[in-house]
Subunit: 207 residues, 2 copies
């Protein structure tokens, strides 16, 4: 069974435990010959996907208990994979969602590291430089590069520590592996969203 998570930049594929990605464009969608199950946040590709006879939109079948209005389908799918814990999808944005007893308690959004780097550059040309994610966080910065890197990475870690309490952290997304290493009781799972999609498929008996 082929699963696809379609974003604005990339399409992530999952089949039999393996995952890979391609650029998000119509060609890479049209090329797929077998039946596939997808979630999609890419508005541009939406009409194309709806016209494909081999594509099944999972969005109507993935539900979680939440009071949150407008939760993205990618966040819903990741939450569907975890009954108890803090889910962190660290990509262009860092989304954080709290699950307890199968309920979604809420969540928040911080800019991702690359977005923060662009943000510093927009504030001043003197801050327009690549962040060093490996800057020491236990020493006070002594130059601009250390100062913006510390000011980008450490707030995320403090927020996640505050959210974690005695819960397990589930990291996914491009910077997920990087952030996971700062925590005990944490795992990185690049297939978290797909596991949620599989859970929904099984629950609804639709495959």
């Amino acid at each position: 069974m082929l699963l696809c998570e379609i974003g604005n930049t990339n399409i992530h594929f999952y089949k039999k435990g393996a995952n890979w990605r391609k650029k998000a464009n119509i060609k890479n969608i049209s090329q797929i010959e077998e039946k596939f199950y997808y979630i999609n946040v890419n508005e541009q590709l939406k009409p194309k996907l709806q016209n494909l006879s081999n594509a099944v939109d999972l969005e109507p079948f993935i539900q979680i208990d939440t009071a949150y209005k407008g939760l993205g389908i990618d966040r819903i799918a990741a939450c569907k994979a975890v009954d108890e814990g803090v889910i962190v999808d660290a990509g262009s944005a860092i989304t954080v969602d709290i699950m307890a007893g199968g309920l979604h308690l809420g969540g928040y959004i911080m800019p991702g590291l690359f977005a923060l780097q662009e943000c510093f550059g927009s504030i001043s040309p003197k801050l327009d430089m690549p962040i060093n994610p490996n800057t020491p966080l236990d020493l006070l910065p002594q130059n601009s590069l250390e100062a913006i890197s510390y000011g980008a990475v450490k707030p995320v870690i403090l927020m996640l520590k505050e959210s974690q309490k005695d819960k397990k952290l589930y990291f996914t997304g491009g910077d997920g592996k990087f952030f996971a290493k700062f925590f005990d009781n944490a795992i990185y799972d690049g297939s978290l969203i797909f596991k949620g999609m599989l859970n929904a498929i099984q629950e609804k008996g639709i495959a």
Copy 2:
């Protein structure tokens, strides 16, 4: 005695305890008839200022003990006003500097609230909305507006609490008053940079 702090957007003026601001442009510099003492981070206005016979650049006269390379003159001036404490200048960027026993121990930089708002908008059109700084921080967000507002404001507060320990917080800058209200042992002083300039003038006996 007239003091001016010249930034990229505004010129802040200080005289006899009062402070006010004007747009940062050549006209608002040329209009000044009396002798004035300034610090300047605006590269465009630099040559003009150097040609004025009534303008005294204080930058060479404001020194602090620090190992930090490239500390901006506005941050140096604010530090010159405080021997012991955490100095937070919350403007387009939020700069944080730690002083202990008259020594500058280091500091870091986070994006300001407006820059973060722009940053969210650049990540996704769905996050392109004005941050609500008064969003509750003790409840988990339940929609996108709450999620980005929480994710913008709370990290700053956690970072400052971590930096504060038993020290006093000195807030200045456009959002300084807003952030100060979250802390005990904290003051807002919109004239902090000017106080540092006055300290340097007195120390060097140059006025």
